[in-house]
């Protein structure tokens, strides 16, 4: 029994950086900006978080630094996509390459040294609930934050005027503009929120989950965020299922290996499922009911 509680908790902890990052990606892509730079933002968050935690001796300052660097990096992509009408596919790839390169350079003096990490902190009195308390409320603070973020996202996106504005900007910027909404402002705001969360998800790896700096430590998690966002159809609730599913796959491949299941098969399954989901979701009749931003990746060119 205790073993299962611990496995499920590990799955949630493995899925949390994916969840936080995917929520960030949703903020960016809901406004119509395709972001293939998640891997670059994430790894910059990881190295910056580690460096600041190491220098100041305070991992919380590391988290804040990771958020700031995430915003800065997302804004590079934002300026090119929003203000310069640049090619978003290329700009995103550039961001990923730049982040991988720069993080390697910054992190070269931090390899193999310890850092003060953020421990599990039980959330009294919720952690006293039998079973569920141990799984959900005796873990690290960013897991709690991710629960909160999902609720906030769901509420803002579906229950407030802001949600309508964001969806209008992603689906039909011309209409939004004619309603008096500044499309540019909304896109920048989405970019800033998204960058902050993706940066934070990187620091989760280097200050909580691993915790250490290893070159290239995001190991494709940024790309998983890009696919998860599609998998979740830009919806925060589906993002929860998707993240824990992918997190579960990450944990289970090591647990199932002794039983003769090759880890490669298990770890490729999420990608195959994502392609299948894409096929179903691309049918016109279904597309209308789902959240895919209609202008994703297309620059909004306003000539006046």
């Amino acid at each position: 029994m205790n073993e299962w509680i611990s496995i499920i908790r590990t799955i949630i902890e493995a899925g949390t950086p994916l969840l936080i990052g995917t929520l960030g990606q949703i903020a960016i892509e809901r406004t119509g900006i395709l972001n293939l730079g998640a891997e670059g933002i994430m790894i910059m968050g990881a190295v910056t978080g580690f460096a600041f935690a190491r220098i100041t001796g305070n991992p919380w300052i590391g988290l804040v630094a990771a958020i700031l660097i995430g915003i800065f990096f997302a804004l590079i992509h934002g300026v090119i996509s929003i203000s310069f009408n640049g090619n978003q596919t290329i700009s995103g790839l550039a961001l990923t390459m730049f982040g991988i390169g720069l993080s390697g350079l910054i992190g070269r003096n931090y390899i193999g040294i310890p850092v003060k990490h953020i421990p599990r902190i039980p959330l009294f009195p919720l952690d006293k609930i039998p079973i569920l308390g141990q799984i959900l409320f005796n873990t690290n603070p960013l897991v709690y934050l991710s629960f909160l973020l999902v609720l906030i996202y769901w509420f803002i996106l579906y229950k407030t005027k802001i949600g309508i504005i964001v969806r209008a900007v992603g689906d039909s910027p011309e209409t939004a503009e004619s309603m008096g909404i500044s499309v540019t402002k909304v896109k920048y705001l989405g970019t800033i929120i998204g960058g902050a969360l993706i940066g934070l998800s990187g620091a989760y790896l280097s200050l909580i989950y691993i915790p250490a700096w290893i070159e290239g430590m995001t190991a494709g998690r940024g790309w998983i965020i890009v696919s998860l966002t599609v998998f979740a159809m830009w919806d925060p609730i589906y993002a929860v299922f998707g993240s824990y599913l992918f997190g579960g796959v990450e944990v289970m491949q090591y647990i199932l290996q002794p039983y003769g299941i090759p880890p490669a098969f298990l770890s490729m399954s999420p990608y195959i499922v994502t392609i299948l989901v894409l096929c179903i979701a691309s049918r016109e009749s279904i597309k209308k009911r789902l959240g895919a931003p209609k202008t994703l990746g297309k620059p909004y060119i306003r000539e006046k």
Binding site: F84, G86, A94, L105, R108, A264
Partner: protein, 352 residues
Amino acid sequence: MRIRIRKRVVESKRKIILIKIIAVLSALLADAIIFLFMNVDPLRAYYEILRAAFLTEYGLTETIVKFIPLALISFGLMVVFKAQTWNIGAEGQLLMGAIVTTWVALNLGFLPSYIIIPLMYFSGFIAGLSWALIPSFLKIKLHVNEVLTTFMMNLIAQKILEYFVYGPWRDPHGWGFPQTAMFPENARLPILPGTRIHYTTLLLALATCFILYVLIWKTTIGYEIKVVGGNIEAARYAGINIAKIVFLTMIISGGLAGLAGVGEVGGIKFRLNPNVSPGYGYTGIVIAWLGGLNPLGVAIAAFLYSGLLVGGDALQVAMRLPQATINIFNGSILFFILAFDFFTRYEIKLER
């Protein structure tokens, strides 16, 4: 006073090239500042890259070694991007080419060289092509966005590769490393003595450059590709079979990426391992775009980039910098070109 932004009617070719050069120089300057902050002497770093890549005989041959896969991939991507179809799956198509070639080399090694080597190229081409066929089919029949599917196919190909080298194909005498046995002698591509240049693949790459030039500028299909890429509505109106163009360009780029995979396992490593490609498929996207989607431009960009990669390896040895450092240049050069590109496409005026 307000700022007016207007799309330029004519984009001058000379100005486009000039702006690209300025963008690259600005990126190098920005990176020098980053290096200074990181306590790395930028002048020494730049000199090391230049020296390692272009100024020594060994370095120059290594630059050509890296030019082979990059040229094949970026020539293919040039064609598919021209049709405004975003195949970012060259990495996976390369890997599938490498995997299938490995099977041929390890299982049909009894065949003489003059049969097995063409067979390796052929099977690698078909493997890369097939891997591109799935996203093309999904795009045409089900309208699935190809950026996302081609990308997923990269990750799946990487996992298939890992399955084989960690599993059934792992060399029992390989000290437990995740790699296959070495290819038999007759399944290795011929190499220019004293270098690592597998010249048959190099010749294929150069021939490809010429063939694609003819295809795009001298044939009806090339014209149709450009119309589809330029204005899809006009293409539909003109009765061009858009599905056919998407299929064709995807197949060309997939097959060429597969050939690059053949070269890497058959001409460089002589075995399959998880590090067949240091991201050539992604770098190819950058090169195709940097070269302005024309064969000469892409060839020049591919050559310079190959040098940059060789220089990256040298930085690692000479200055103990991580190999990934080179990616700083990849990213920043693109950023500056994207930003400066705005000024070639739009004119900005201040008005009262």
